[in-house]
Amino acid sequence: MARSLVLARRELRAYFDSPIAYIFLVVFLALSSYFFFFQIQGFFLVGQATMRIYFEILPYLLLFVVPALTMRLWAEERRAGTEELLLTFPVRPFEIVAGKFLAAFALVALTLLLSLPLAFQVAALGPLDWGPVVGGLLGGALLGASYLAFGMFVSSLTRNQIVAFILTLVGLLFFVSVGSTPVLARAPAGLAPFLEALDLETHFKAIARGVLDLRDLFFYLTFIGFFLYLNAAALAWRRWR
């Protein structure tokens, strides 16, 4: 685990040594604020001290920015050949995967925390129910982490960052829409509960209501663990090429 932290620190340093981290933060905050205040059903029109709209757009905002973050995680290492260095250091594949994941997650968590001032501002305008805010941030962190785990795995399959980005986006769109009403309405009856349980957004909505159900938590942790495991397995498998 200590090795993972060393790797995570290097990865974070790479984020902040290049413009990636800053662009990520600025784009995320600008877009989230824009949609929050000026969307058709935006904050000013609703006329209530609530962050509900913010957390409604959060899954979709993350959907577009997280793949931009994960696309380079492995693809860039493979392109530059540094993957060979990494894999010949005395570290287990899973430690490397965990390190990269932790670094990317730290950036996502930081971004979510930076949206807190928005909540304080809303709270200054009227009585804000903090339960959904805390729930929304926690849910956002879990959702973001799930996107990251999936995106990283996809990145490990290609050396082209654009390919990684697009495949991640398509895959994530699948995972946030598989349990949506239009899909469920057309799905075979026996399959519907299963599809709904697989949907990343369903669980987010539950947590963002301010109610933390252990089953939702368990779902996210399983999803994350599964793709991190696949990622490590892909690394090990690639040695057999």
């Binding site: 060393v6 790479a14 290049s18 050949g81 993957e83 260095l85 894999l87 250091f89 570290v91 040695r239």
Partner: protein, 308 residues
Amino acid sequence: MIRVQGLTKHYGPVVALEGVSFEIGRGEVVGFLGPNGAGKTTTMKILTGYLHPDRGGAEVAGHSVLREPLSVKRQIGYLPESTPLYAEMRVDHYLDFAGAVRGIAAAGRKGALDRVVGACALEGVMKKQVGELSRGYRQRVGLAQALLHDPPILILDEPTSGLDPNQIVEIRGLIARLGREKTILLSTHILPEVRETCRRVLIIHRGRIVADGTPDSLAAGQRDETTLYVTVRGAGAAGVLSGVPGVRRVEPLGTEDGRERLRLRVASDAPVEEAVFDAAVARGWKVLEMRRETATLEDVFRRLTTES
């Protein structure tokens, strides 16, 4: 220190290695030669745990590459082909990272860093980004990274490729110094380099080891016959010299101002020069030139790696 047994590796239909076996003892500096695509890099990637062989196995410092990859990786300093590095990192940050990931505690890292920075002469570029460095410096950063944990074994894949002649001399000197205490396997295309830095040569061709020995023994062991060029001033030299022990054939090359030029085919293990000299002196001739042509490592390499 390194024991390789029956390594076989295919990339799809392409055969990279076909039953490669060799052993390298402690403290040996071994040059790994072969044309591009012969299997040098693949062998090194298997030894460093980056690739799995299809068949066969390898042991490094007593640990199996397949079963104890982490123990093996701790014993090895590896410089991959074309020296991949994190271009956006500063040299000092990068080396500190490499030390930390190798498990050198923060307290010992400073000392380890100072040692390799001195050995690789990196003092002037520590605050620069790796991506800004010249090819020579990048190569030295790669070497420094491989030396940080003071490994007993170094595996260097073309450590001098892409360098200018001055840089090559520097890196070669560094490798020669390291070779006094470490076991080194290095691959190269540059044959004179092998003669200077390596005490032993392995030549690989189409995934098989085709030669193994010291540079001199490989060159000499090519055939049991070598060529001796002789120029003497004296009449009838060709007839007399064909009777000298060890001389198998005499081919006159021409006469000029009373100097007779001859090409002698002689047994490579016989001291023919002395006998020729004595024969000439006994008849009052003057020996103007006597030169034995030995097969060079280049000849050996070309002969072993061009025939199918």
